[in-house]
C-alpha cells in the first residue's frame, strides 16, 4: 500500500462525492436556494442580465474558488445597487455572502473566494434601489482531476 484510501479521498474526491450522491441533501439545498432568492427579492422573479458573475468553468481547488460579481449600474443617488446575494446551490448550506452597496460605493463590484462541495451553480442576485432584481447563474465544475494531457 503506497497511498492510503483516506489520502486519496482527501486529495482527490474530497467531500464532493459524499454529497454528490445524497439526493436528499441536494434537493434540500435546491429548495433552500429558491427560498433564499424569494426572501431576498420579496417574492419577485429576478430578471436576467445587469448582474454578471465571474467564475472559473472548472475549479482548480474546490476549497477556495474565486468568485467575482459586478452589476451594471450608474451608482448615483437616483440609481444604484443596494445589495448582491451570492448562493451556491449544491453546498450543504447555499448561503455564501451578501454584499451591501450605496451610491457612494462608486461601482458595484466584489470578489471573494468560496468553498464548493461539488459541481454546482453559483448564483448572484442583485437588488437595485428601485426594488428591481436581477440574477446570473454560472455552473462551476469541481473535478476529481488528473487525467488530462
Amino acid at each position: 500500500m503506497t497511498i492510503t484510501r483516506r489520502q486519496l479521498f482527501g486529495l482527490t474526491a474530497g467531500a464532493a462525492t459524499v454529497l454528490a450522491f445524497n439526493p436528499k441533501m441536494s434537493f434540500a439545498a435546491a429548495d433552500e436556494t429558491d427560498a433564499a432568492i424569494k426572501a431576498f427579492t420579496g417574492g419577485a422573479e429576478p430578471a436576467a442580465g445587469t448582474v454578471s458573475l465571474d467564475t472559473p468553468e472548472i475549479a482548480e481547488n474546490g476549497n477556495t474558488v474565486p468568485v467575482g460579481v459586478s452589476v451594471d449600474s450608474p451608482m448615483t443617488a437616483d440609481s444604484f445597487v443596494e445589495s448582491v446575494l451570492i448562493l451556491a446551490d449544491g453546498n450543504p448550506s447555499p448561503a455564501v455572502a451578501t454584499f451591501h452597496f450605496t451610491a457612494m460605493s462608486g461601482v458595484a463590484e466584489a470578489k471573494t473566494r468560496i468553498r464548493l462541495a461539488k459541481t454546482q451553480n453559483v448564483i448572484a442576485v442583485a437588488k437595485m434601489n428601485d426594488g428591481s432584481t436581477y440574477i446570473d447563474r454560472k455552473e462551476v465544475k469541481v473535478t476529481i482531476g488528473g487525467c488530462g494531457g
Binding site: 500500500m1 474526491a13 482548480e60 465544475k141 473535478t143 494531457g149
Partner: protein, 564 residues
C-alpha cells in the same frame, strides 16, 4: 503521387526477387523518389508575411512514428466535424487518396504498411531545414515562428535535463514566442529559471498570480513583420493545475478567461495591430468555441489536442490552424494584409517526412550533442514487440495496454489505470523496444506507480469524472485528454449522456463479476496529481515487465464497449 496499389505491387515484386527483407527499403526508396523536398516545401507565396507554427513537439528531437487516432469522437455540435473525423471518412472529407503520403501522415488507415513504406516522421533537424527554407524564401523579417507549447516534456533527455535539451534546441530554431502546458510540470522555480533565459517571449494571458490575482506572465506582444503590425496573444493550457499537479505550481492560477483575450484584442487593435493571432494551448474544441465568442482574432494557432488538419477551420472569420504533434508537421500560413487588415491567406500543413527532408547539419549536430551523455541508455534494447504499439485514441491504445499489463503484474493489482495522455510515440510490429521508446511513453516529473485500494463506487466516480472531461457537451468544460485507460476491468460508455450516467457494466475481467460499489479493489496506476504519491517510477515497472516478457504480444482489447 503513388497509389497504394502501385506501392504494394512494387513491394511484392521486389520481395519475390530479393527476399522479403528488402521489400520495405525498396519501397521506401520509391517513396523518397516520388516525394521530394521541393514538392513538400514548395508553395506559391502569398501576401507579405508568413506565420510558421509548430506545437506539441513533446521533446521529440529525432524522427518517430506517430499513429493518428482511429477513434476521436465529437460531442454535441461538433459531432462529425473536424478534427472529429478519422480514417476513411477523413480521407474522403479532405479528398486524400488512400495509401498516399498524406493518408499516412494524417490518418491511421493501413498504418503499419504505410509506415514501412514512408518511414518515420519529424526530427527537429528536419524541422530546422523547413524553417530555414521558409525564412530564406520569404525573408527572415517577414516570418514569425510560433511554438504552441508542450515542447519541453516527453522524452528521457528532456526529463533528465528538466527541459534544458529542448530549450537549447528551440533557442537554435529561434522562435519569436511560445506558450505552455507540460512545461509547468517542472515546477515554479524551474519554469521561471528556464523562461528567464529564453531569448524570446513566453506568453500566457490566462496565467494569474494566486496571491494578488493579477497577470503573472506577459500576455501579448506586438511584432512587425512584412511591414505589418502583428499582435500575438499567448494562451497556456487553461486546466494545467487540474490535469497536472497543482502543488508543483501553487502560486499560479489558469482558466480560459476569454474576457481577458477580448481585452487584449481590443488593446492590440488600438495600438495599431493589423493582424491579431492567438497562440493557444486550449485544445481544438475550446478554440473553436472561443473563436465564435471573441471577435477580432484573425488566426488561432491551436494546440494541445494534437489534431492535424490540412485546411484551416474558419469560425467567425477566424482561421483555426491545427498543426499536429511530435514534430510531425510544420504549418506555413502566408498572409496578405491590405489596408490594415487580413485580405487573404494561403496555408500548407507540411508533413515532415524524415527520409525526404534533408536534416539541417547544424541542428543535427546540436541534437547529437544534447543526447550524447544519454546515448548508451537511450539505445539499450529492452525487448521486442510483435504488435503495433501506439497510444492515441479516445478509449485505449496498445502502449497503454502494455503499461496496464505491467502495472497489474508488477504491482500485483486487480485493476490498472493509465492516464489518457495524447503524447507517446508509436512502434511498429517487429521493432525492438528501446529504453528511449519506453520513456517516450511515460517521461514526466510525477511518475510514481501507486498501489491502492479503491471501492467500486470510487472507481465509477473516477471514470465518470474523466469521461466528462472528454465528453462534456460544452467544450469549455473539456480538458483535452483521452479517456483513462483501464486494465483488468471492462466497461460500457455512452459519451452522449451526462456525468454520472455515461459509464455502466463495469466488470472485473479476471472473474467476470460485476464491480460492486461497496467492495474494495486493488488498483495500480501512475501519474497521480496528488502530492506525496508513493511507488516506483512507471518506467521501472514497465521495464521490469518487459525484461521478464521480452516479446510483447497483446491480446485484442475489447474491454471498452461504446453505447449510444
Amino acid at each position: 503521387m503513388f497509389s497504394r496499389r502501385e506501392f504494394l505491387m512494387a513491394a511484392t515484386a521486389t520481395s519475390a526477387l530479393l527476399g522479403s527483407g528488402m521489400a520495405g527499403s525498396w519501397s521506401r526508396l520509391m517513396a523518397q523518389q516520388a516525394l521530394s523536398e521541393d514538392q513538400l516545401l514548395e508553395m506559391a507565396p502569398k501576401g507579405q508575411l508568413t506565420l510558421v507554427h509548430i506545437t506539441d513537439i513533446h521533446a521529440q528531437l529525432k524522427p518517430i512514428y506517430f499513429r493518428e487516432p482511429s477513434i476521436n469522437l465529437g460531442i454535441g455540435d461538433v459531432k462529425g466535424k473536424p478534427p472529429h473525423v478519422t480514417g476513411a471518412v477523413f480521407l474522403k472529407l479532405y479528398n486524400i487518396e488512400a495509401g498516399s503520403p498524406d493518408a499516412y501522415a494524417l490518418t491511421s488507415e493501413d498504418y503499419v504498411a504505410l509506415a514501412k513504406t514512408y518511414g518515420k516522421m519529424g526530427g527537429m533537424d528536419r524541422v530546422a531545414t523547413i524553417v530555414k527554407r521558409i525564412r530564406a524564401d520569404r525573408g527572415a523579417d517577414n516570418v514569425l515562428l510560433l511554438d504552441g507549447g508542450d515542447t519541453w516534456q516527453g522524452s528521457y533527455t528532456a526529463n533528465q535535463t528538466l527541459g534544458q535539451d529542448m530549450v537549447t534546441i528551440m533557442n537554435a530554431l529561434q522562435p519569436d514566442a511560445m506558450t505552455g502546458h507540460w512545461e509547468f510540470t517542472y515546477g515554479t522555480d524551474r519554469v521561471q529559471e528556464l523562461i528567464e533565459g529564453l531569448p524570446f517571449a513566453f506568453l500566457g494571458s490566462n496565467i494569474y498570480d494566486n496571491e494578488w490575482d493579477e497577470p503573472a506572465f506577459e500576455s501579448w506582444k506586438m511584432f512587425e513583420r512584412g511591414g505589418a503590425k502583428v499582435a500575438v496573444i499567448g494562451q497556456a493550457f487553461p486546466y494545467t493545475p487540474i490535469a497536472n499537479p497543482r502543488w508543483m505550481i501553487p502560486g499560479w492560477s489558469f482558466g480560459i478567461r476569454e474576457e481577458d483575450i477580448a481585452a487584449h484584442v481590443e488593446e492590440a487593435r488600438s495600438e495599431g495591430a493589423e493582424l491579431v493571432v492567438l497562440l493557444s494551448h486550449n485544445g481544438f474544441d475550446v478554440d473553436r468555441k472561443l473563436a465564435s465568442r471573441v471577435d477580432g482574432i484573425d488566426v488561432i494557432l491551436t494546440g494541445h489536442t494534437h489534431d492535424a488538419l490540412p485546411e484551416p477551420v474558419i469560425v467567425n472569420d477566424t482561421l483555426v490552424i491545427a498543426s499536429g504533434s511530435n514534430g510531425k508537421f510544420v504549418s506555413r500560413l502566408d498572409l496578405d494584409i491590405q489596408d490594415g487588415k487580413l485580405a487573404g491567406y494561403s496555408y500548407r500543413l507540411i508533413p515532415v517526412f524524415s527520409d525526404v527532408i534533408t536534416p539541417d547539419a547544424e541542428m543535427a549536430a546540436l541534437i547529437d550533442d544534447v543526447r550524447a551523455p544519454y546515448e548508451s541508455d537511450l539505445s539499450r534494447v529492452l525487448g521486442k514487440t510483435e504488435d503495433l504499439l501506439y497510444r492515441r485514441g479516445n478509449f485505449n491504445g496498445t502502449f497503454d495496454d502494455l503499461i496496464c499489463q505491467a502495472l497489474i503484474e508488477e504491482r500485483d493489482a486487480q485493476i490498472a489505470l493509465s492516464p489518457g495522455f495524447r503524447w507517446g510515440t508509436t512502434l511498429l510490429p517487429g521493432q525492438e523496444i528501446t529504453f528511449e521508446d519506453l520513456h517516450n511513453a511515460c517521461a514526466m516529473t510525477y511518475p510514481a506507480a501507486y498501489r491502492s485500494t479503491m471501492s467500486g463506487k470510487m472507481l465509477k466516480d473516477i471514470m465518470e469524472d474523466v469521461g466528462d472531461n472528454l465528453f462534456n457537451k460544452d467544450p469549455y468544460y473539456q480538458q483535452g485528454g483521452d479517456m483513462v485507460r483501464v486494465g483488468g476491468m471492462g466497461y460500457t460508455i455512452d459519451p452522449n449522456k451526462e456525468i454520472g450516467e455515461r459509464i455502466s457494466d463495469m466488470t472485473l475481467l479476471a472473474t467476470g463479476e460485476t464491480i460492486d460499489p461497496a467492495k474494495d479493489y486493488v488498483v495500480a496506476g501512475w501519474a497521480s496529481v496528488n502530492e506525496d504519491t508513493e511507488g516506483p517510477a512507471i518506467w521501472d515497472v514497465v521495464e521490469n515487465h518487459i525484461t521478464k516478457n521480452p516479446v510483447v504480444k497483446l491480446p485484442d482489447n475489447q474491454s471498452v464497449k461504446l453505447a449510444g
